[in-house]
Amino acid sequence: MKVPRQKNQNNPAHKNVKSEQENTNESQKKKVKRYFELDKPDSKTDTKTDEVKVYNVKVTPRILWNQKQKDQKRQFLKNEYGNTFSQRKQKKKYPGKAPIDPKRLEKHSRGEGLQGIGVRNPIHKLKLQKKEKLYQKALEQAARSEILLTEDQGYVELEDEDSNTRAINQQIIARNIDIAAATKIFELNLDFGPYRAKYSRNGRYLLLGSKKGHLASFDWVTKKLNFEINVMESIHDISWLHIETMVAAAQKDWLYIYDNTGTELHCVKTISKVLKMEFLPYHFLLASVNEYGFLSWLDISIGEIAGECNSRAGRPKAMTHNPYNATLCLGDSKGVVSLWAPTVKEPLAKILCHKTPVSAISVDNRGLYMATSGVDRSIKIWDIRNLDGPLQHYKVWSPPVDLDFSQKDMLAVGFNETVEIYSNCCTQTVSKPYLRHKMAKTVNNFKFCPFEDVLGIGTDRGFTSIIVPGSGEPNFDALESNPFQTKKQRKEAEVKALLEKIPAELITLNPFEVTEVDVPTMKDIIDSKKKLLHVKPKKVDMTPRRKNKGQTHIARKKIIKDAARRDHIEKLKAASALYEKDEQKEKPVRKQSFGVLDRFVSNPTKSKK
């Protein structure tokens, strides 16, 4: 190892190596040697004088320290990597916060922020940039907090890659999971005909309603019954309201609301002959469609109808709501799916999905995909935000009865006596189902249980609960919906939810519309001007202030009316000028020229003649 020269200051040998002049001085000094001077070997110093170069470096403590550090590093590298590794690549001891997975950031992102482009005022720009930084920080914090989540998503792993998860049935699943989870596979044999089943929002309670009037609600985890009644009428659909103490049942004629002991709370006669129901929890709206295609939204917090309209689509075939923006998706017998909001009388959008009647619709949790199925044995996946698609088009072996998306975007498809679950079927085309469950019963409807890996199937002879690993969200947010909610928490949550009830007018296709800047588009401005053409002139109703002053009553009136008319005509002229300008623009200015062959190009105006 080389020893740097600056370090040798303290070396006694080095002290002697200075310059020839000094050497001579020293030799002179030796003649008058004093008693305390030590004897030094002269020969050693003399031989080395020529070899060693002398640097006049003033050694400061900092240089010494730097040198020490360098030495240590070199030593370390030599030991670790055998002197080949460059110093730059060496890692810091404490590199700061761990980098965040970009996928996680993407998941929590609310879209790209403002860059401050177009903001002229520097103060405003600075404010915006500061705010943007805060948003970024919040985003990072949210992404980082994922490390605190306690539960993991379910899965199925096979040892040999070739074999298929489709072959795994419920017995195999039950054998391979813990006992507590295995109790979630169960079957209820009930006598009152085809059953519909729905889970409460926190996934703890189950509501069953049968065609023959059997209505029951129970905690399906502990199997504790809340109530069980027979309403002695047909039940077409059932729904939980905002808490698990209230349920709605669409019976033969009217809509009824029961509490958790089975007591009838309300009979809503303004809504009749309901076929399908959906509850919008954040708006407190019970949306329903009756057998004539009338849609109505009942505000259950105040008991008033928030909106109703005729869908003009006839008897509804399927209905669901989009949890992303709370619009209703209604499928009709012509294969059209229309999206509805309570305060708009026309559909917000219409999609022709199938050439045959729509048999089922389901929208995924994030409002990205909509799955529809037709009687022609096809299932299509649509991008519901862009109303684009179909992203995927599947042909299945039998017409699907029902569809349902799970929280983790697995799609359950029900056939006559079979339920198939497809995973990851929206962005890519899958050929085989993830799981398949066959029963000796006809499937009526099914729902994925929120926050559980469970699919509940209502059949013609009862209810079946099966396990679908990886379908449910493992980590719930207790302030949103908590499966382990206590009574007190439920009460508090109810009050909070009521305070934050979103008004029905805010249901739009884009739920973020309320935070956007409302700027009238150029099209709106032009349209409003064009409308002037079809407006009648304002009626002038005037009585003169002072009678008999100068001209007569009638003449003065005429003058004023004429003035108003003239004013209106001026406006019309301006509007029509605008209109003409538009028309001129629309005309194709130049046609493609073919030279001599132009005579063969058909002229639409001539040909008409």
Binding site: E146, E157, E473, N475, E500, P511, V514
Partner: protein, 447 residues
């Protein structure tokens, strides 16, 4: 199918339920946006609720200090004790108040006629009062024995004294009357006299940051600036009507605000008196007094229209307005030094205490409460420009006489605007120039 590995969600209730009844409930959170749908409309509703609650809780009146036997003419804050306030009345009585218990601790007749002004020494051990009897009296701030009740020092001025203010750190104070006089505590004669051809000055105030600077309001509609090191006054600016009171911004040494007779307040920059930095409108009668918050971001103004208004220093209109049925013409206002309260003295013998932020909760806030309030504050800010939110946040109930006066003023303002526009439209181009609102109110600036 033996070699298969399956995992399903299986929660142990013990992990999610509290162990004992004394324990707190477990609240696992998951911030995944897909579990929190409809974020924007929910936030909007929350913002709407927050702004409604703010108006519901807006109860600014805290209490009233009664005891004076005539209208309160002036008040002074103690420089170091938050709970102490001195007030003088039109009958010459001075009272010292303990604000925490809302009681008068001491009262005595200080002058014959009005107590024109009061001011504490910077050390807070003495305070001075000036009255109609041309005397400047120094009193002990705390009276233990009976001797302490007597003034420690009485100065006789040759002319009427109407205002007093103390230097930040030197034993110098300034009074105003016919002229502005500088006194030293130990001497009987003023050490300096500033004159600028004015018959009377009615308010004087030392700058507490740039402490050699002082300003006074004169009856000839002017505001005069002095430097106590120089022999003559520095500059003066003349407004359309006279200014009643002046307050220096405690954070920006070069900014002051005057309360004017023409219903407005004007914020000036001493470096550029040609036009005000901001005009604060909203009062419907002459503004009598003004006082800055210690943050320098807000100030309070009391007016002859029986209301107190709180302004932000850079905004043209008031943030809040306080009034009660019983409160008459305001004579003096003060903003407490902890930035939480506002004191007002009025004609009908009462001193009132108000909260500086009307809906603020007094007392200790628990962490969750504070968090909730911060969240509400952020939401209000986010949705501040939404028409519904804006409408609720802006709405203030004012007495009918104010409402009518506002209406009248609006029509007057519209009328003048319209008239000017008409004159401009019908005369030769350039003969009627457009004068900005800021320039309109300043008559001239002298040096």
């Amino acid at each position: 199918m033996s070699n298969v590995k399956i995992k399903v969600i299986s929660r142990n209730p013990e992990d999610y339920l509290r162990a004992t009844k004394r324990d707190i409930q477990k609240i696992p959170r998951n911030y995944d946006p897909s579990l929190h749908p409809l974020e924007a409309p929910r936030e909007y509703v929350r913002a709407l609720n927050a702004v409604k609650l703010e108006r519901v809780f807006a109860k600014p009146f805290i209490g009233c200090l009664d005891g004076h036997r005539d209208g309160v003419s002036t008040m002074a804050k103690h420089p170091s004790q938050l709970a102490v306030l001195a007030s003088g009345a039109f009958d010459g009585e001075v009272r010292i108040w303990d604000l925490t218990v809302r009681k008068c601790t001491r009262n005595f007749v200080a002058h014959e006629g009005w107590v024109r002004a009061l001011c504490y020494n910077p050390d807070g051990k003495h305070f001075m009062s000036v009255g109609d009897d041309k005397t400047i009296k120094t009193w002990k701030a705390e009276a233990v024995t009976e001797e302490d009740e007597e003034p420690t020092n009485t100065l006789l001025s040759m002319s009427v004294v109407s205002g007093i203010t103390h230097h930040r750190n030197k034993p110098i104070f300034a009074t105003c009357g016919e002229q502005c006089q500088l006194w030293e505590n130990t001497r009987n004669e003023p050490i300096k006299v500033f004159k600028w051809g004015v018959d009377s000055l009615h308010h004087v105030s030392f700058n507490q940051v740039e402490y050699n600077l002082l300003a006074s309001c004169a009856s000839d509609r002017s505001i005069i600036l002095y430097d106590c090191r120089e022999s003559g006054p520095l500059r003066k600016v003349v407004l359309e009507l006279r200014s009643n009171a002046l307050s220096w911004n405690p954070m920006e040494a070069f900014i002051f605000t005057v309360a004017n007779e023409d219903y407005n307040l004007y914020t000036f920059d001493v470096r550029r008196l040609k036009e005000p930095v901001a005009i604060h409108m909203d009062h419907t009668s002459a503004v009598i007094d003004v006082d800055y918050a210690p943050t320098g971001r807000e100030f309070v103004a009391g007016s002859y229209d029986k209301t107190i208004r709180i302004f932000q220093n850079d905004k043209g209109h008031s943030r809040d307005v306080y009034h009660t049925k019983r409160m008459q013409r305001l004579t003096c206002v003060k903003w407490s030094l902890d930035n939480k309260y506002v004191m007002s003295g009025s004609d009908e013998m009462n001193i009132r205490m108000w909260k500086a932020r009307a809906s603020e909760k007094l007392g200790v806030l628990k962490p969750r409460e504070r968090q909730a309030l911060n969240y509400a504050e952020a939401l209000k800010e986010k949705f501040a420009t939404h028409p519904q939110v804006k409408r609720i946040a802006r709405h203030r109930h004012v007495p009918k006489h104010i409402l009518n006066a506002q209406k009248e003023l609006r029509t007057i303002r519209e009328k003048t605007k319209r008239k000017e526009a008409n004159r401009r439209a019908h005369s030769k181009k350039g003969t009627i120039p457009v004068v900005s609102e800021k320039k309109r109110h300043v008559v001239k600036e002298d040096e």
